[in-house]
């Protein structure tokens, strides 16, 4: 896996979310880019991008239960 794209690690849905932030959907571009840079540059100390997808799956279970 060495020297491959960090994009493969982050995954499509999360890239879309990052894109919305870097586009300025929520304003304060510079500050929020600095914030997401703490997880998307091979420096994801708390494995946020890794767990994100199982988190989404768990949230789907919540939605199924309440709907």
């Amino acid at each position: 896996m060495r020297n491959s794209e960090p994009k493969d690690y982050i995954g499509e849905s999360l890239l879309k979310v990052f894109h919305a932030i870097t586009e300025g959907t929520f304003g304060f571009k510079d500050e929020f880019i600095a914030l997401i840079d703490t997880v998307r540059n091979r420096n994801d100390l708390y494995l946020l991008c890794h767990d994100f997808y199982s988190y989404v799956a768990a949230q789907e279970k919540v939605i199924k239960l309440v709907s």
Binding site: M1, R2, S4, P6, D8, Y9, S13, L14, K16, V17, A20, I21, T25, F26, G27, F28, E31, F32, A34, L35, T38, V39, R42, N43, D44, L45, Y46, L47, L48, C49, H50, D51, F52, S54, Y55, V56, A57, A58, Q59, K61, V62, I63, V66, S67
Partner: protein, 288 residues
């Protein structure tokens, strides 16, 4: 450690990490000193105090208030889980608590919450390891999905949800403050988007403290305890939410592990890497 009579972790998983990793050398020298004392909360404040009506309901159905001193007794409530009268009364109490919280939120933030939406709560100190950022990114993900769905299909595809954050950051912790700022910015955009309406509301509740927690926790329906496995020593608000009949979405970390054992994994939404996978994963991330 040398001078101490005993050394303890504050949850089973934490005590194990102390032995295996953090104090490994000391454990080799003094294996008998190492113990576990899982942290706890008092039902006096976190159930009888903050949710009097629910406590009354428990007493009525258990036909005694002995459970107040012997909390294990409330497991007997299981037999009423499918009793429709019990369900109805339980839900009415939850709804009254939600109204109380919605009023407080409106007073503080001028954001109007739908009392029939799912109250999804994450209140704790703001820290990267607790991953409020992951929740915030998920909200954006949800917002983008709502926007992508055709307006006439939104109602059937999405359940109305109110996401409530609360917590303070250490004064010099810039990333934690940025997380708060991001949540504030998301909340402004989403709450004012007519496409979204009641389907998603985001609130950052000001001044999270014990007094406010006594209003927030009884009103919660889903509570988030999503730290990276191996980082939360115990965590005790998960227990407070459990006492008040709230479901947990969480990782196998801190006291969540023991709650899953006690309440049953089927009653929790568990996800994420387990503690024994973390080392390998980190290696992979940093050398990706």
């Amino acid at each position: 450690m040398v001078g101490s009579h005993a050394v303890n972790g504050v949850a089973a998983i934490h005590s194990q990490i102390l032995k295996d990793d953090l104090f490994r050398d000391f454990y080799e020298m003094f294996p008998k000193k190492f113990q576990n004392k899982t942290n706890g909360v008092t039902p006096r404040r976190w159930l009888m105090g903050c949710n009097k009506e629910l406590a009354k309901l428990y007493t009525e159905y258990l036909q005694t208030n002995e459970w107040e001193a012997n909390l294990e007794m409330i497991s007997k409530l299981k037999e009423f889980a499918t009793d429709s009268t019990f369900q109805k009364r339980w839900y009415e109490i939850k709804l009254a608590n939600k109204r109380k919280l919605a009023n407080w939120v409106f007073k503080e933030t001028k954001i109007q919450l739908n009392e029939n939406s799912l109250f999804d709560v994450m209140v704790k100190r703001i820290h990267e390891y607790k991953r409020q950022l992951m929740n915030a990114l998920y909200i954006i993900h949800r917002y983008l999905s709502i926007k992508q769905t055709a307006p006439e299909k939104r109602k059937e595809k999405f359940v109305p949800r109110s996401v409530l954050f609360g917590g303070k950051a250490a004064p010099g912790y810039i990333n934690a403050k940025r997380i708060i700022k991001l949540i504030g910015a998301i909340s402004k955009v989403i709450n004012n988007d007519p496409d979204v309406g009641d389907l998603l509301k985001v609130v950052f509740m000001p001044n999270y403290n014990v007094s406010n927690a006594e209003t927030i926790i009884p009103a919660s329906e889903l509570s988030q305890h999503i730290s990276t496995a191996g980082t939360e020593a115990s965590g005790t608000s998960n227990m407070k939410f459990c006492l008040n009949g709230c479901l947990i979405i969480g990782t196998m970390d801190g006291a969540n592990v023991e709650i899953a054992q006690e309440a049953g994994e089927e009653n929790m939404f568990i996800f994420g890497a387990r503690v024994d996978e973390i080392g390998k994963l980190k290696e992979k991330v940093f050398h990706y």
